[in-house]
């Protein structure tokens, strides 16, 4: 086995210089909760581990109109600080492993790892996430939907660094939730994950619907057909059932060690019904307490 170089950088510019020099010979390392497992299993063979955990610029968590999650924002920081503005993402972050994983594991890392079961991706998708990338040649931003291309595959070029993920926080009057099906309530990889954000008007009519799911296809995805069915509805049983049919039709699950494809399809419908009920209760929070 060749000798692995461990290179620590403390500035974005230094990281970009290393990436332009090393390209795909470098593996970016933040908290290491995915990378170190894969490295020890022999699934990754980098020449250099590029350690970015000490880059101050990537720690930023900005909340103005949108919310900017610097690439080093951890799961714990999100679940501790964004429960009001991004409830579904906070809920997802609170289920990624235990405290030890959430303490150093990052949202950007969860996205870049591009697991079909990535808990943070459905809530980011319903929040219209955009991924900011930088390289020696400049910067670019791409919607998260176009960033994750397949299992463990993203649109990041070898010389690029993800610097931030920007999302639209929950608008006033909207509600959202992330639900995860798993045998236990903690320390589980999602058998199915579902994030739903709904905006309701004063008459409780859905004016905007966003639905995204994970663990039912190679890539987590938005389910636009199901979203369209809910818009204009009052979440009547028939409308939710029709949306659930479209959700099942859009899914392409596999059998694996955790669950069968048939099981995943079976739970999707009830999961959407449960999500619709919860979000229906959460949305219009201003009037809920009156």
């Amino acid at each position: 086995m060749r000798t692995l170089e461990f290179r620590t950088v403390t500035k974005v510019d230094e990281a970009l210089e290393s990436l332009s020099q090393l390209g795909d010979e470098a593996q970016v390392l933040a908290g290491g909760t995915d990378v170190m497992i894969q490295y020890q299993r022999g699934e990754l063979h980098p020449a250099t581990l590029l350690h970015i955990e000490g880059v101050e610029e990537l720690q930023r968590l900005e909340q103005d109109g949108s919310v900017t999650l610097g690439a080093l924002v951890t799961h714990r920081r999100v679940s501790r600080t964004l429960a009001d503005r991004l409830p579904a993402l906070s809920e997802a972050c609170a289920t990624v492993g235990g405290w030890q994983t959430q303490e150093v594991g990052t949202v950007a890392g969860n996205v870049c790892n591009a697991s079909p079961a990535a808990d943070t991706i459905p809530p980011l998708l319903i929040a219209g996430a955009v991924v900011d990338l930088a390289s020696g040649g400049g910067t670019r931003s791409i919607p998260l939907e176009q960033f994750v291309l397949g299992r463990r595959k993203t649109a990041r070029a070898p010389d690029e660094l993800v610097t931030a993920i920007r999302v639209e926080p929950l608008p006033p009057g909207a509600g959202e939730v992330y639900l995860k099906v798993a045998p236990r309530s903690a320390m589980e990889v999602a058998l199915v994950g579902l994030a739903v954000r709904l905006q309701l008007d004063q008459d409780r009519v859905v004016t905007d619907a966003r639905i995204a799911t994970c663990s039912v296809a190679p890539v987590p995805f938005r389910v636009r057909g199901a979203e369209e069915v809910l818009v204009g509805s009052r979440l009547e049983t028939d409308a939710v059932a029709e949306a659930a049919d479209l959700l099942r039709a859009a899914a392409d699950p596999i059998d694996d060690v955790r669950a069968t494809a048939a099981y995943r399809l079976k739970v999707l419908g009830p999961l959407l019904e449960r999500a619709a009920t919860i979000v229906g209760e959460r949305a219009g929070g201003a009037t809920r307490w009156s």
């Binding site: 000798t3 461990f6 020890q40 350690h51 492993g97 235990g98 405290w99 320390m187």
Partner: protein, 153 residues
């Protein structure tokens, strides 16, 4: 590749290959074998140590990522041979049985009590989801924390 950090207040310098885990440096190079190796994939928490006060699975943490940082292991929890209040409570309640998970639990729960000296039971349960115990059924461990909290009031 050389590496310098502090362990339980003592500055140490080791020379290990890049990609070595913090756990291997602690148990191998430094012979601090109180920290246990369990699953090596972030599931069991037996290898939990504090990195600048934050609980981390040392089996998944690169040793060189600890450069310049302060590491606390189970060996650094008692003072002058005196168990901490939490450790004493774990003994008293039967929260220690085979003992393999105990160092990880002590570290995680020490971090919890540092952050929140008066947790409620649900907060204790949430803090230890990343630590597995196959003997106690957790009840005695949670009892020990609540006893420590009561004793500290």
């Amino acid at each position: 590749m050389e590496l310098t950090f502090t362990v339980n207040g003592r500055t140490v310098n080791v020379d290990v290959p890049g990609g070595t885990t913090l756990l291997d440096v602690l148990r191998g190079s430094l012979q601090l074998t109180g920290t246990k190796e369990g699953c090596v994939e972030g599931e069991c928490g037996a290898c939990t140590v504090l990195v600048d006060g934050r609980p981390v699975d040392s089996c998944l943490y690169a040793a060189h990522a600890a450069e310049g940082r302060a590491i606390t292991t189970i060996e650094g929890i008692s003072t002058d041979g005196e168990l901490s209040a939490l450790q004493r409570a774990l003994v008293d309640t039967g929260g220690v049985q085979c003992g393999f998970c105990t160092p990880g639990f002590v570290i995680t729960l020490t971090a919890l009590l540092e952050e929140n000296p008066t947790p409620i039971e649900d907060e204790v349960r949430a803090a230890i989801v990343g630590n597995i115990c196959r003997c106690t059924g957790y009840t005695q461990i949670i009892d020990a924390v609540m006893e420590t909290v009561e004793g500290g009031r």
